[in-house]
């Protein structure tokens, strides 16, 4: 399952990293505490959050996450978007809340592989 399929199915808006939508999504991670994301997220996770400041790009990059979905209408801060474009990290947005987005993606990709 790649990001593009999820973008289509959930009608997400793509803000950056358009040419990396073919990346495989191995799992999902929902969280807004950067230290928790750093500790628990895994390579290939699609990160669902409402944190909009530029540190999210650094975290996504460091952890080799598949991309970031800002949910419930959150829009990235200007410098966040700039950084995401520069580092070519897929940054997506959704109107639905984290629970709904996570629920639907989980149905598509299943539980985390060990």
């Amino acid at each position: 399952m790649n990001i593009e399929t999820i973008v289509q199915a959930l009608q997400l808006s793509v803000k950056s990293g358009r040419d990396r939508l073919g990346v495989e999504v191995r799992g999902g991670y929902v969280g807004d505490l950067l230290s928790d994301v750093m500790a628990n997220s895994r390579e290939g996770d699609l990160w669902i959050t409402r944190q909009i400041h530029q540190n999210i790009v650094a975290v996504a990059s460091l952890k080799d996450l598949a991309g970031i979905i800002l949910v419930r209408g959150a829009e990235p801060a200007a410098d966040t978007l700039e950084k995401a474009v520069r580092e070519n990290i897929p940054l997506l947005t959704a109107d639905l809340p984290a629970f709904e987005i996570a629920g639907r993606i989980y149905q598509m990709i299943g539980p985390r592989k060990a």
């Binding site: 807004d32 505490l33 950067l34 230290s35 409402r50 944190q51 909009i52 400041h53 829009e75 801060a77 966040t80």
Partner: protein, 158 residues
Amino acid sequence: MWKRWVGPVSSCKKWLFNETFSVQGGNFDDAGRISGNIKTILKEMGIGNDVVRMAAVITYESEINIVSYARQGMIRLHMLPEHIEIEAVDEGPGISDIRLAMQQGWSTATDKIREMGFGAGMGLNNIRNFSDIFHISSDVGSGTRLKMIIHIQQEQDR
């Protein structure tokens, strides 16, 4: 960008209820207690759930701001026949650029504050979004003052 409070909202400024609560800077243990109290008071007065929610969110975010950034402050709740006024006044560093502070995501929070789930830069926005009228003023080195008004009868109730 924000609505200004332009004057008395009622020609008959008769308080039905008027109470002031003090807030201690840095006291995260206590933060949120006042919004709990206000919620109870408003519910007992028969105020509708939507308005109670608005008042509770406004008060909570105001309390957290004072606790997070100021030395001390106070929150005043005034009940008028048609409106609820909530004022949050603090003694603290003040805000040098209000427009910047009102930008979603803009925050001066420390790591400790962020780890608690605060400091995402949404507090003032929540306060503004949950008010019918919102006014903010600040003096650097002195403190910040917020004044919020909520109509007891909301649009959708009319």
